[in-house]
């Protein structure tokens, strides 16, 4: 793995870390969901600091170059994060629906009482 590639990976990791920490500080992101991204930061750091891991898996999995391997790992990580987000969004949709229904039924009850 070239020194250049290691540098870029490390840089990406640092920027990502700073962005996430900043978002957490401003309370724009729940700690719970930041773990997804911290996982990516750790992955980036591992790749940059221990390139041997990449070389090992590159040979094992038959990737032609280390950079391909790195890109492959990223695509997979992003897929994982996107699926997690889809699950989160679906869960929220259910909760919002429940809220709308319960509030609307309650409102009807109150209005019914007022009419009497």
């Amino acid at each position: 793995m070239s020194a250049n590639l290691r540098f870029y990976v490390l840089l990406a990791g640092i920027i990502l870390l700073l962005v996430i920490v900043q978002l957490l500080r401003k309370e724009k992101v729940f700690v719970k969901f930041s773990f997804l991204w911290f996982f990516s930061v750790i992955l980036l750091a591992l790749i940059a600091l221990f390139p041997d891991i990449i070389s090992f898996f590159r040979k094992l999995l038959g990737f032609e170059t280390s950079s391909n391997m790195v890109i492959g790992i990223f695509i997979f990580t992003l897929l994982f994060i996107t699926i997690s987000l889809t699950i989160i969004v679906s869960g929220q949709k259910t909760k919002i629906q429940l809220l709308i229904q319960e509030v609307s039924i309650l409102k009807q009850k109150i209005e019914e009482k007022d009419d009497k």
Binding site: I100, K107, Q108
Partner: protein, 240 residues
């Protein structure tokens, strides 16, 4: 024998032209020695005068504070039925498509304890003159019917009918869980899989008297793919 308490759930989205007639129709058909009717309109966040019309005419109505779609609206009705301990719930469209006189036919099998869930069907009796909808739609309904047969082994003819009735057990199930999109075929499949007794009876249906249907042509492909996938998923889901 104690009279069964029946709740008629009418989901309505922008039905200002139809809602009053539909409600009056039900009021006129009311009462029987077997059961008593109550009606509740679920106004799914209509942007027209539906809410005002209900208020003005003192029609019992739950106004959803935000549009939920047909599944969310109908489920609100089932929740209301569950909270208020109704024996039977009937889904009845707010657009004037369903015939009021057929309500009794849909309820009867539940009162006789022949079925847990009854579907009012356009297709069960070919001899009667009935509004049958377009060829494309009928083909779609047949495809869904075939898919349900594949998954559950049972044949349902009018898979997308929104004219349905359920007993107490079904009310409880639907109050807890009901699909948001295209709920009819999916809930039918779920009930069949859970071994509930479903009966299809003939119900008179008309062409819409006013307003526009919620089914658009350009959505049909998405509709079919969504339903077929949903039924398939119900099929491979473990029994819980």
């Amino acid at each position: 024998m104690k009279k069964s308490r029946v709740l008629i759930i009418i989901p309505a989205y922008n039905e200002e032209e139809n809602i009053l007639d539909v409600y009056k129709g039900i009021q006129n058909a009311k009462e029987s020695d077997m059961f008593t009717y109550d009606t509740i309109i679920i106004n799914d966040g209509s942007t027209d005068a539906t809410k005002a019309i209900c208020k003005e005419n003192k029609i019992p109505c739950i106004n959803l504070i935000h549009n939920l779609g047909i599944g969310g609206a109908v489920q609100t009705g089932y929740k209301y039925a569950y909270d208020n301990d109704y024996d039977i719930a009937v889904q009845f469209d707010g657009d004037g498509q369903h015939e009021v006189l057929s309500i009794v036919d849909v309820i009867q099998p539940i009162i006789n304890d022949e079925a847990d869930f009854v579907i009012g069907s356009r297709f069960i009796d070919k001899t009667k003159d009935n509004f049958q909808s377009s060829t494309a739609r009928r083909a779609g309904i047949r495809l869904i019917s075939w898919m349900i047969k594949l998954v559950t082994g049972k044949r349902i003819y009018d898979t997308t009918s929104g004219f349905r009735a359920g007993n107490k057990k079904v009310i409880e199930i639907f109050a807890q869980k009901y699909p948001v999109e295209y709920p009819e075929p999916i809930t039918t499949t779920e009930l069949l899989k859970k071994k509930y007794r479903i009966k299809e009876v003939f119900a008179q249906m008309h062409e819409r008297t006013g307003g526009t249907s919620s089914i658009h042509t350009w959505k049909n492909v998405y509709y079919m793919v969504n339903i077929i996938l949903s039924i398939f998923i119900v099929g491979i889901r473990g029994d819980k």
